[in-house]
Amino acid sequence: MANKLLEVKNLKQYFGSSANPIKAVDGISFDVYEGETLGLVGESGCGKSTTGRSIIRLYDITDGEILFKGKNIHAGKSRKELKEFNREMQMIFQDPYASLNPRMTAGEAISEGFDIHGLYKDKKERREHIGNLLEAVGLNREHANRYAHEFSGGQRQRIGIARALSLNPSFIIADEPISALDVSIQAQVVNLLKKLQKERNLTYLFIAHDLSMVKYISDRIAVMYRGKIVELGEANEIYNNPIHPYTKSLLSAVPLPDPLTERKRQRIPYVHEETDEQLSVHEVLPSHFVLGSDSQIKKWTK
């Protein structure tokens, strides 16, 4: 078994007043292993993006613990330690139109991290590195001098990826990196992410609402609903053998490019079941976890 790169333990992220907080993330725990892709899916507002942002320290977490390579990331840190952490973990954002500064060239956007971390002070060396990064994501060296508006959506997302890679991170959080792109461009970006993962031994947390792409790219999938992870397991296992009624409902709504099945599609509506019983995580099958009360699990696994 690969090493645990990231451990999230009972993470809670509340917003608003403490008297009546909005529980965006309400006590979730999971591990991410080195070199794998963990997909995080759920509908809008379920807390999946908040989870990603808490992990990369964009929020101060309300409760819980996040360990990266065994170290607590929210523990008091010196500037130096913080910088080291930032080099290890990077993010790819959803909207390639909003995430690039329109007044910076692609080269400047990619090399911003070099300035902050005092890397490649030599001009020639720096240009070399920017060029290599652009080539790694399938762009040309010459693109370094162009501004964001001169690129198409897919190319911009490639620049976003090059920027995330610029400091040689080991862990990348991709927050809906393809939802703003066209289908054929989505495939290009997904292929690129897979290729880079192999070449650089990257670990991904892939956040998305598009289940078909998530299943394709992920080794394991976690399904979130209302701030909780309701099911977690191997991608194939989740897809072929969903246990939690929410996962079943979600899967029954994914349209497939197959008219004969589509015409017979039966959507399974999800009705949230409130119980007074204690909810806990059950390992229903080896490494397939479901959240529910004892009686619920019994009912669902029947």
Partner: protein
């Protein structure tokens, strides 16, 4: 055979820009029958939204120019109509559902009034009370619980899916014969998307409305469409029934679109097929087949002459030189063929 409702013949739309004239739609023809759903698919910039907006005459002129062709609705050409005449067609005969329910509704108006406004505008004999009654019925029809209460609420009190239902209710308010839905579910979650698609099909069944459905999601197309038009660079490159397009695709661009979706059922983990490059510049559309530079099967003639629409079967057409009798036989890429066979086999087994 049901009645032909809409016939678009060789439609051409240009836009004047500082850089030159953009030929956004370059000779599009299709027809639509009563109670039928036509899906138009393609990448952004392929001209699918311009085509649908032009049917509603929503292309601003200038910079837009109707450079040629006809839009026959119930036998009447819409292109030469004045703005005043067109206002009668919009809503009454043709209505539109837009992509983003957040921006399509007026945030300062109660939802109910946005619906009664349409009813009153299109039918002078209806009293306000009757309009209200109809609006509440419409809200009920689109599956909004407690319509009397919801009638008095503002759009911000609705969730995204509920807002899209309101937008649909407004579109249905004047009983249109044709509904144009431009990416109506793209901004929604999958579960909500499935509900909205069910709702639209349901309404179609009840009132025999025709629907033009614009989307880039092939899964959605498979779910809703009777017929499909695949658009590329301002032209329809493949046209056929939904089964023709999904089980017997002929155009390499359609292969590319199908191949770029991961195959969930047959669980293949191979690399996704992509369409290399990006769409052409429509200020200077390329000579010959516009898809040639991105087409791995391109032949010399593709760079010289534009291919005509070849007929594959009675219902199925494709615009590629590969269908010419003298062209070498290029089979459907293996990965896609395997997938199609998998689907068909499964359908056969479950049919038994």
């Amino acid at each position: 055979m049901s009645k032909k409702l809409l016939e678009v013949n060789d439609l051409k739309i240009n836009f004047k820009t500082y850089a030159g004239i953009v030929q956004a739609v370059r000779g599009v023809s299709f027809e639509l029958y009563e109670g039928e759903t036509l899906a138009i698919v393609g990448e952004s910039g392929s001209g699918k939204s311009v085509t649908s907006n032009s049917i509603m005459k929503l292309i601003p002129q200038p910079p837009g120019i109707y450079a040629g062709g006809q839009i026959l609705f119930d036998g009447r050409d819409l292109v030469p109509l004045s703005e005043k005449e067109m206002a009668k067609v919009r809503g009454n005969d043709i209505a539109m559902i837009f992509q983003d329910p957040m921006t399509a509704l007026n945030p300062t108006m109660r939802v109910g009034r946005q619906i009664t406004e349409v009813i009153l505008k299109h039918n002078k004999d209806v009293s306000k009370a009757e309009a209200k009654e109809r609006a509440i019925k419409l809200l009920e029809l689109v599956g909004i619980p407690m319509p009397e209460k919801r009638f008095r609420q503002y759009p911000h009190e609705f969730s995204g899916g509920m807002r899209q239902r309101v937008v649909i209710a407004i579109a249905l308010a004047a009983d249109p014969k044709l509904l144009i839905a431009d990416e109506p579910t793209t901004a929604l979650d999958v579960t909500i998307q499935a509900q909205i698609l069910e709702l639209m099909k349901d309404i179609q069944k009840k009132s025999n409305t025709s629907i033009i459905f614009i989307t880039h999601d092939l899964g959605v197309v498979a779910n809703v469409a009777d017929r499909v038009a695949v658009m590329y660079a301002g032209q329809i490159v493949e046209y056929g029934t939904v089964n023709d397009i999904f089980y017997n695709p002929k155009h390499p661009y359609t292969w590319g679109l199908l191949g770029s979706m991961p195959d969930l059922k047959n669980n293949v983990k191979e690399e996704l097929r992509t369409i290399p490059g990006s769409p052409p510049d429509l200020i200077h559309p390329p000579q010959g087949d516009a898809f040639a530079p991105r087409n791995e099967f391109a032949m010399a003639i593709d760079y010289e002459m534009e291919p005509p629409m070849f007929q594959v079967s009675e219902t199925h057409y494709a615009k590629t030189w590969l269908l010419h009798p003298d062209a070498p036989k290029v089979p459907v890429p293996e990965a896609i063929q395997q997938r199609i066979e998998g689907y068909l086999k499964e359908a056969e087994e479950s049919g038994k």
